[in-house]
């Protein structure tokens, strides 16, 4: 039924079916442009007024072997009639450039049962019989598994227009998808002009022709067509990835210097900043290593305005001694950690929330620092402004945790309206009053005014050694505790200014889900689904984890059960050796248990994939089935 002949049904038969949302994937070998195709589709849908969320599927190597399961490179785009906050559960429609890259996604259960698969058909006629066999047996197996497989001659069609069809295929597919989702061709043309804007006009024209050909092919060859209702856009929206939002936030925060060393998945933030930072008087310094990047940022912060260093897990580990120095000498510093799978080199391109405890407790000794976790693309932008402000107000290190999921995900958010309040004040060069001390810790808050080089009368030597209020090296036991107390009190002073986060759902009930970081949209979608089924489930999402805002304990106590949802490891109680005595909880669960003495359970996974709302629903239902723990 799904053979080529069936596809040659007249276009008139296609009536767009209206859908509330759809999840589409484009999967290819690395370098075939699937991500550019998907990002463009997302941008066009967003411009049409649809909600979108994109998730990139990135292999670890630049040129992994072609036609391999591990080499799959692609993108998932969830298009909705309303705002979309996460990548959703399973894919409804997949476009694959070969059957091997598709297989990995099928085996991982990423495709919905009965999903439509548009598959490049050229492999059926390949010179290598092994490839032909692989292709035909895969198509047969997929059809036997009830997938709706449509074989499409992508390269053959592209070759009618361009010599190197492998390079142009992605734009052909973009056109197909615009037809399938009833998107405006004019927007698609404009999008192509935007993405190839730096290239010659004939390259733009050639890509537009490929896109139009894909559109026309789909119109006359496919028997399905969808329309996802769009909402009228009333406010200007920006569509960027989390890493771009971080870079824009750095620019908007008034920070001058970003020191970094290349590391996945953080680097694209610095790439983007390198493009635009100098135009406003800032600069990105690529240091010789992560330690130097941290030290460079500390030096720059010390001498002027707060600087930022952007990294991922292994780089974050390397910066620990520097972070301790900034804590001890009370130099403001913003450290961005775009988390990836760990420990060690782990899974560089995959998502994990494994660095929470190391962010809070990292560096030796008692090194209090602020830890924030961004929860959306928009939050990536504003968190940088908040982080810079906190760092300079309290002369503290502020760690901002993002992750590999947010780093490449795209979602529209209201265009920020610039405010001068975001910016740092000019560097203070006024004379220091006679007798003023460089660490004149306030007895209540632990805060002290910082003297910056250039201020007459403020000369002193800062040091990572224990020091007194004059910044003199001190080994006196009382002075050591005085410094420790002041540095710790600053966290409490900040904590008093934080608002209690809102509860999503109802104020009390059977189960509270608690999350942090990139999972906010996923957890809240799960709460919506559970409440639609009549379950008294709510959620709480934490942006500040060190310090935790006040008012959290009463919230936890209003629910019969509390479960954290985290993208990291926790021991599973069905393992024979694991019991209540030795179970290692997820990071946030451990924090909440120790701080509030509430029996917080955890559900976590560290599969390197974004957590799905369906998984959270299942975890919540399982937790609801458990009896409520009695007070011990």
């Amino acid at each position: 039924m799904n053979d080529i002949a069936a596809l040659e049904r007249p276009a008139a038969a296609r009536v767009a079916q209206e859908l509330p949302e759809h999840i589409v994937e484009v999967i290819s070998d690395s370098g075939e442009g699937a991500q550019r195709c998907g990002q463009s589709l997302a941008a066009i849908a967003a411009r049409s007024g649809n909600g979108i969320w994109t998730v990139e599927i990135i292999p670890a190597e630049i040129q992994p072997p072609a036609r391999s399961v591990a080499g799959a490179s692609g993108i998932r785009i969830r298009i909705g009639a309303r705002r979309v906050t996460n990548g959703g559960d399973q894919t409804d429609l997949a476009v694959a450039f070969n059957e091997q890259v598709l297989l990995g996604r099928v085996k991982a259960g990423e495709l919905k049962k009965g999903a439509t698969i548009i598959l490049e058909s050229m492999w059926r006629d390949h010179a290598d019989p092994a490839i032909v066999a692989s292709y035909t047996s895969t198509v047969t197996a997929l059809r036997e598994s009830a997938f709706h497989v449509v074989e499409a001659p992508l390269e053959q069609e592209c070759r009618k227009l361009v010599a190197d069809a492998r390079k142009g295929k992605n734009m052909f597919v973009l056109g197909m998808l615009c037809s399938i989702y009833s998107l405006d061709l004019e927007l698609a043309r404009a999008q192509i002009a935007l993405i190839f804007g730096k290239k010659e006009s004939k390259i733009i024209a050639s890509n537009v022709r490929l896109m139009e050909a894909g559109f026309a092919w789909a119109e006359s060859n496919l028997d399905f067509k969808y329309r996802i209702p769009a909402q009228k856009i009333t406010e200007p929206q920006v569509v960027v990835s989390g890493n771009t939002a971080i870079a824009l936030g750095v620019l908007a925060s008034g920070m001058d210097i970003c020191a970094m060393y290349p590391i996945t998945p953080a680097t694209s933030a610095s790439h983007y900043l390198s493009e635009c930072f100098e135009r406003v008087g800032g600069l990105v310094h690529q240091a010789e290593d992560e330690i130097a990047a941290c030290a460079f940022a500390i030096g720059a912060s010390y001498a002027g305005r707060c600087a930022v260093t952007i990294t991922s897990g292994p780089g974050y580990s390397l910066k620990q001694e520097g972070i301790g120095l900034a804590v001890m000498a009370e130099i403001p510093l913003v450290v961005v950690n775009v988390q990836r799978g760990g420990p060690s080199t782990g899974q560089p391109t995959k998502v994990e929330q494994g660095d929470l405890l190391t962010s809070i407790y990292g560096s030796h000794g008692d090194a209090p620092k602020v830890v924030m976790a961004v929860s959306s693309i928009e939050d990536c932008f504003y968190s940088m402004i908040t982080a810079r402000k906190i760092a300079e107000t309290f002369n503290m290190v502020v760690v901002v945790l993002s992750d590999a999921s947010l780093s490449t995900a795209q979602q529209p958010f209201p265009r920020p309206a610039f405010s001068e309040d975001w910016l740092a004040p000019p560097i203070d060069q006024t004379p220091v009053p006679e007798g003023a001390k460089p660490y004149d810790w306030d007895p209540l808050t632990g805060m002290a005014r910082r003297f910056v080089p250039g201020q007459p009368g403020g000369m002193h030597t800062i040091t990572g050694l224990a020091h007194d209020r004059m910044s003199k090296v001190a080994y006196d036991p009382a002075i050591n505790e005085e410094g420790l107390r002041a540095r710790s009190l600053k966290l409490a002073a900040l904590q008093k200014t934080l608002r209690t986060p809102p509860v999503y759902g109802g104020d009390d009930g059977e189960l509270l889900l608690v999350g942090w970081g990139s999972t906010q949209g996923v957890i809240e979608e799960a709460v919506d689904r559970l409440r639609a089924r009549g379950k008294a489930v709510s959620s709480l999402h934490l942006r500040f984890i060190q310090p935790l805002p006040s008012g959290i304990k009463p919230i936890l106590q209003r629910f019969a059960r509390v479960l954290t949802i985290e993208g990291n490891w926790s021991d599973r109680l069905d393992d024979e050796l694991i019991d209540a005595d030795n179970r290692r909880y997820s990071a946030l669960a451990m924090m909440l248990r120790s701080r509030y003495l509430v029996d917080v359970d955890c559900w976590s996974e560290a599969r390197g994939q974004p957590i799905k709302p369906g998984s959270v629903v299942a975890a919540a239902l399982a937790k609801l089935d458990q009896p409520v723990a009695t007070e011990v």
Binding site: A46, R47, E186, A190, A193, L194, G197, K232, I233, T234, E235, P236, Q237, V238, V239, V240, L248, A252, G254, D256, I257, A259, C276, E278, R279, V280, G281, L283, A287, E288, D289, A292, C294, A295, F296, I298, G299, A300, S301, Y302, A303, G304, E321, G324, L325, R415, F418, P453, G454, Q455, P456, G458, M459, T461, I462, T463, G464, L465, K472, V473
Partner: protein, 330 residues
């Protein structure tokens, strides 16, 4: 003419500083430690160059020598082990208007901070760097350092160090963008001062290795050189240093060396006995990283606003009534 007058007025009001203005806490170095000689030379330099104490920053790592900033009455940054270079680079990049010095030891620079040392040479930022090379770890109590001589018996090499010593001069001269390399010894204070002053006046990464005595852990190491001035090779040149008659009376082993001659500088650096003293290499033409990167570029709220709005424009979806505004190619 107006500017010349302005210049005069400024100079009339300028404060001049005395040696005491640069003297911080009482040094806690051992009696006879070479660090004291370096401190005296640097304080004299600050006075003679009339450096505003509030615009001068001494950055150090960890070790005996890295206590240096505590003994200056300027701004100071006593950092962490091995990281004085990147800390100082950050200071200089943020504030090219400041005079930035780096004090580092043979362990700090040549061992734990070696990666930063290599790259600091390559960045060629305008920093005056003093390598306090006493050939031993002092603060941690007598371990072999990268510059310890073969056979040196220490707590980590009780049967004698087995490796050859690293030569900081040849290493520095081997790195792309080296722009100023000199060597002094703590027992020749006049030469030491002259070298440090030339280093300060060089715009770029001025690397001065100072061979210094550690009376506690290597008390006799340099006695042969102290007793025999012939084992010191004084480098002279009209573009380098010209020793005084007094120095020349004692140190007769002199050699004319043009500091622009890199090949000859490397050859001199390789010969460790006699110890070369003077300016080995000086190339004022190598650009500084902070200049190449436009450090100190002015920022203003207007500039930030304009830059941010321009970036946001690239990614903005306008309300549908404005859909005439399709995305524009960059």
């Amino acid at each position: 003419m107006g500017s010349a007058l302005h210049h005069c007025v400024i100079r009339l009001h300028e404060e001049h500083h005395a040696l005491e203005d640069y003297q911080g806490g009482v040094p806690r170095w051992c009696n006879g430690c070479g660090d004291n000689a370096i401190l005296a030379a640097v304080q004299r330099l600050c006075r003679d160059e009339d450096l505003a104490p509030e615009r001068t920053v001494f950055v150090s790592g960890i070790g005996c020598s890295s206590r240096f900033p505590h003994y200056m009455r300027t701004y100071g940054f006593h950092g962490i082990h091995g990281r004085a270079f990147p800390l100082a680079e950050g200071v200089k990049m943020a504030r090219p208007d400041l005079h930035v010095f780096v004090n580092t030891g043979d362990g700090d620079c040549c061992s734990i901070g070696a990666a930063h040392w290599i790259h600091a040479i390559r960045y060629n930022m305008n920093l005056t760097v003093i390598l306090h090379d006493n050939h031993v770890y002092g603060l941690t109590k007598k371990q072999a350092s990268p510059t310890s001589p073969t056979g040196f018996k220490s707590n980590t090499t009780p049967r004698g160090a087995v490796l050859q010593a690293l030569n900081p001069l040849t290493v520095t001269l081997g790195v792309q963008n080296a722009s100023f390399v000199a060597q002094g010894v703590d027992w020749m204070p006049e030469q030491l001062y002259d070298i440090i002053r030339r280093a300060y006046r060089h715009r770029g990464f001025s690397f001065v290795r100072i061979i210094q005595r550690c009376p506690e852990f290597l008390p006799k190491m340099f006695e042969p050189w102290l007793h025999d001035p012939g084992r010191t090779l004084v480098l002279t040149h009209e573009n380098g240093l010209q020793p005084s008659a007094e120095v020349s009376r004692i140190y007769r082993n002199q050699r004319e060396h043009d500091p622009m001659d890199l090949d000859r500088a490397r050859e001199i650096a390789s010969a460790e006995d006699p110890i070369p003293v003077g300016i080995l290499y000086h190339n004022p033409e190598i650009p500084c990283y902070e200049d190449l990167r436009g450090a100190g570029s002015p920022r203003s709220p207007e500039r930030t606003r304009a830059g941010l709005e321009a970036e946001l424009d690239k990614y903005t979806i306008w309300p549908q009534e404005d859909q005439g505004k399709l995305p524009q190619a960059a």
